[in-house]
Each structure stands twice: as C-alpha cells, then as structure tokens.
C-alpha cells in the first residue's frame, strides 16, 4: 500500500522524522487501538491518535455527554450534550481525519464483554476513572496478552505506566487490589484540573504511537507521576517479581475476571 499524495502531505511532519518515515506511518495506518473511556484521558488521546492516522480506533464508553464534562473532555462540544460520548468522539475523530475507521462500544466494560472487545486490538488505553474498571482492564489484558497503557488523574496529579506482556510488571503487581469503597475520592468528588487529562492522555497516546512504530523506550517497569502544582515529573522504577503477582505471575491465582463493586457515584470516563 503506497501513501497517496494527500497522505504524504497530511503526515509530512511524521514522515520527516527518522524514527517514523513512510514505514512508520504505514504501521500507524494499519494499527488498531482501543480507548476505554471517552473522558478526560480518552478525549485528548483519541484526538491525537486520530490525527496521527491510527487506522482503526475503538472507543468504549456507556455515558452521554454532560455539561460538567466539557471543562476537560475536549473531544466533545456544547452541542453534543446528551449525545452518547462514543458518538460525539467518533464525529470529532472523523472530522479530523477521514483515514481513520472508528468503532464505537456504547456500553460498560465488564468481565462478560471485555475479552471479546479487546481481542481485535494491538494496543489498549485505559482512560477510565474507577478502580474496578482499571483492575478489570489490567487482568483482561494480562490474560489476553495485550499491551496497554494505564493512567489515572485526580486534582493536580496524574500517573501512567505501560504494560507489555513479558516485559515488566502489570498494574496489579504494583497495586494489589482496589482500595476499599469510598477510601479514595473519585474525580467527581475531588475535582481535577482540566489540562491534567490533556497532559496524561497525550502521554498515553505517545506510548501507543511508540509501541506501534517500535521506537524508543516505553514506560514498562516504571510509573511516571506528575504533580502539576510543583511541576514535578517523577519516574519510579517498579519491582517485578514474577513469582508473586496473582495475575501475571508464574503461579496465577486470579484466572477469572472479577467485576469489583463500584462506589456509587462512579461512572466510566473521567
């Protein structure tokens, strides 16, 4: 498949890069990335991946666009209020780049449907806002041997890490299990600065792009944290003891997906 003149122009700033070139751009055009959560993290990630020419982008979210989302979820507009987030996200992505095929999943991700949804994708982005979803995505990706980017944001802080099968710890290696219900406030209760989703969600898109083009070092085996008030980025090296993790370890005790109970006011898509 040769790039068209229009594609050469559209992706010229990519192709010019030694690390990308026409070869890397074609990898992006052939890639399939799933974004779970069309919220604060998923919005910028989806916009950048669509603009980058990722050929197939799946987007999963059960919610509709709400006025209170618009302070940070930049893929949705005021006129989209009431519309399913996945539809609004699809329209924005298609408007940016007609090269992109968008697949929407207007549903909650559960232990019942997640393996079927992730199976067709090369890389998964966790853009959810609650612990049950984060552990479910981790466990499903470990079981299905899918690389994924974890991220979380709250107030003026954010964090992310990348899991690649066999190349480092999973989310559960680091955070054993969800905290007790209501022990940690949700973003709804605690608030979050809008640009935080932009910073961390864009970093997730960056990890996806690097994974697809096979360049650079990923955040495997490390957790990157960002404290916006102090303008501090910290990269923390994570231990990886394969004998111990209940899901990715050598003797896993978690072999079935778990639907943890959600705190009441939580939804997907921070």
């Amino acid at each position: 498949m040769a790039l068209t003149n229009e594609q050469i122009e559209r992706y010229s700033r990519h192709i010019i890069l030694k690390e990308v070139g026409a070869k890397g751009q074609k990898k992006l055009l052939n890639a399939k990335v799933l974004i779970i959560g069309a919220g604060g993290l998923g919005a910028p990630a989806a916009l950048y991946l669509a603009a980058a020419g990722v050929g197939t982008i799946g987007i999963a979210d059960a919610d509709e666009v709400d006025l209170s989302n618009l302070q940070r979820q930049v893929i949705h507009a005021t006129a989209d209020i009431g519309k399913p987030k996945v539809e609004s996200a699809r329209e924005s992505m298609e408007a940016i780049n007609p090269d992109v095929k968008v697949v929407t999943y207007h549903e909650f991700i559960t232990s019942e449907n997640i393996l079927d949804i992730i199976k067709d994708y090369d890389f998964i982005l966790d853009g959810t806002d609650n612990f049950p979803a984060k552990f479910l995505i981790n466990d499903a990706c470990v079981m299905a041997k899918k690389p994924f980017s974890h991220a979380g944001i709250i107030r003026f802080k954010g964090q992310l890490m990348t899991y690649v099968p066999g190349e480092g710890p999973c989310y559960r290696c680091v955070f054993k299990e969800p905290p007790p219900k209501d022990a940690v406030p949700t973003c709804k209760q605690a608030g979050v600065i809008g640009a935080m989703g932009g910073v961390i969600g864009s970093l997730q898109a960056m990890e996806a792009v690097k994974y697809i083009i096979g360049q650079g070092k990923l955040l495997t085996g490390s957790l990157l944290t960002y404290d916006a008030l102090n303008m501090d980025f910290r990269k923390i090296t994570l231990p990886h003891d394969t004998s111990k993790c209940p899901v990715c370890g050598s003797n896993p005790t978690i072999t079935k997906l778990i639907d943890y109970e959600q705190a009441e006011c939580e939804g997907t898509g921070l």
């Binding site: 790039l3 050469i8 700033r13 192709i15 010019i16 030694k18 070869k23």
Partner: protein, 81 residues
Amino acid sequence: MADITITDTVDITDVVCPVTFVKAKVALEELDDGDILAVRMNDGEPVQNVPRSIKEEGHKILKLDDNGDGTYTLIVRKVGD
C-alpha cells in the same frame, strides 16, 4: 563513473517545503539498497535543502544536473533497506 541506471523518478516541482523532501524520502523508502532515484526539483530553496536532507538520511548524492529551465535533477543512490 559508470553509466547510471535510474530505478525511479520523482518530481517535487509541484510542492513546497517540507513536502519536497518528504516526497523524495517516501520515494527512497520504496526502493532497495543500491537503487538510483532521480529527483526533479525547482531552483532555490529545494536545491539548497533537499540534497542536504537526503544526505543526512545516509543516502549517497551522485550528481545534480541543471536542466536549464529553472529545475535541477538530483541523482541519489539509496543506502540501506
């Protein structure tokens, strides 16, 4: 120098920087190691920048011919796969 057999030709006179270099780069990526690409370009900015950028990518510039009509033809040997 022995006769040069041109493998492929690309015309970048209809585009401006940086698409000039990008089109040449894409054409080079389609070729195999040792293949020869002829690139027709406008005088001025393209002649100043495109050969240099191609050289920076590690390819071998063989010659630059003045076509006498305000355009030049750059002959490049692809280095690497």
